[in-house]
Symmetry: C2
Subunit: 282 residues, 2 copies
């Protein structure tokens, strides 16, 4: 495969233009481009710009709303609930990330959740952004069913990604996982690279452990990390996002409308300086 050199700043501009050409307004396109820019600079090799072609399909065929009217529909005090109007998950999640920081400025902690959203790509771009602004922020997402259990013949629960960021003077930490041993994106990378997987990562169509990542992609039987522990953590994210937001839960993967919008996200920001005083959080 031929390598192409891409300059980071140029990438951001190109992404913004491309998103505009798929229907987003300039402001929204810049937000989404910023998310992909951060994700891609991490260099993980999945959950980055390789996810964009699918996003364009959903925008072009009307399954995702390019210009959502994101509305506050509930909450009190330090806790707010939004409807994402079936907009891109990157737009919706950045919206609640910003809101959670606004709330944390006023109340010390801020909790903002959004339903009727779409795939947020990954947690890291949002938590990293919030961390640069001085908050300790945790971001999580309910995703469509991507997690099974030993003995089950289908996926029952989202793998429900979760992440946070922190840094001190001379080091930084970015944590961004889902509660399966492997996400779809990571499994796809193993397939592309011809690698085998540990046999506890998933099951084949007969429900048997397998070391072939394609078997798991075909069966969709992704196993939760550490068995019941990972499954229970995925339920917690489900509660903290889609259940509290009143969004789709479990394997309710389609709206009655046939549109997408089956994700919910939650951001929790903590105003560290107000708890410990400046400079003490390191």
């Amino acid at each position: 495969m031929e390598k192409i050199k891409v300059y980071a700043d140029q990438l951001k501009k190109n992404l913004t233009d491309a998103l505009c050409s798929h229907g987003l307004d300039k402001e929204g396109a810049a937000v989404v481009a910023g998310v992909y820019y951060r994700a891609t600079l991490r260099g993980v090799g999945h959950h980055e710009i390789d996810s964009l072609p699918d996003r364009y399909i959903y925008l072009d065929n009307g399954q995702t709303n390019p210009r959502p009217d994101i509305k506050k529909i509930g909450g009190m005090g330090a806790m707010e609930l939004y409807d994402g109007d079936n907009g891109m998950g990157e737009l919706c999640t950045m919206h609640v990330t910003e809101k959670s920081m606004d709330l944390a400025k006023e109340h010390g902690i801020g909790f903002a959740t959004i339903r009727n959203s779409n795939h947020f790509l990954a947690a890291a771009p949002y938590t990293e952004y919030a961390e640069e602004k001085g908050f300790f922020t945790t971001v999580m997402s309910k995703s469509p069913a991507g997690l099974s259990l030993p003995g089950a013949d289908k996926d029952l629960m989202g793998n429900n990604p979760f992440g946070y960021s922190a840094s001190a003077d001379d080091s930084s930490l970015l944590f961004d996982i889902c509660f399966a041993y492997s996400s779809y994106g990571k499994m796809g990378k193993y397939i592309k690279e011809g690698k085998s997987i540990p046999e506890y990562w998933g099951r084949d169509k007969e429900g048997k452990p397998t070391t072939n990542p394609q078997d798991v992609m075909d069966s969709q039987l992704f196993m939760p990390m550490a068995e019941h522990k990972g499954f229970g953590l995925a339920i917690w994210v489900e509660m903290m996002s889609s259940v509290l937001a009143g969004g789709n839960i479990l394997n309710q993967d389609e709206n009655e409308t046939g549109l997408r919008g089956n994700y919910s996200q939650t951001a929790i920001s903590i105003n560290v300086e107000k708890l410990l005083g400046p400079g003490e959080f390191s």
Copy 2:
């Protein structure tokens, strides 16, 4: 072993009396007895009244303060920070559980954290109590180092237990784990029952995988669940509790005073009814 029949109500009274005889005042003893009562009724077989004899030792030899002066020392709005004055972890954790609910009543969400605390026994008694009062509450604890990593020759991080409770009309859910494959309590139960463990649960003194639980108890090399994923989640609890509370972190297991008080706990309560309206959270 001969079985003894104990009536639940009698148990609560006996526990209260016993705790008073080890120096607690009546009010504090009733709170701690309530925690052990709930934990014991779960019937899990560990993290229940079998932990009390150790607690009595710490109370009797002055390592734990039987009548702590728990003080608010920081915070703003929906977020409060307490010092536990080296009191029993059960007292300290119930204190922040109550405070988080008070805050959630006023602000929608409440975050209360406490440092200079001790072992809280388990998360479930607090989350179950809060759930009965109508809150969706998550409780977590920094604990002394009980989690290692492949290649490390000692424990580096607390196994940092985490739990939540929820219920609907006809079902209920109680989730209460630590981020090692096995806690100390569970490992002890395997030893007592002469059972072997999966070889990925821990390492022996030479750093090699072992199926003998006694090897792990001797080496103290407990492995994090799902490798880096469990380790990163333990760091998150560390951040959300001891780092934000300004308490002991990582393997700072002793205070300079030689006293205990090396735990921190955090309770986050969500006022579900104010977010979704009555009856919608099920």
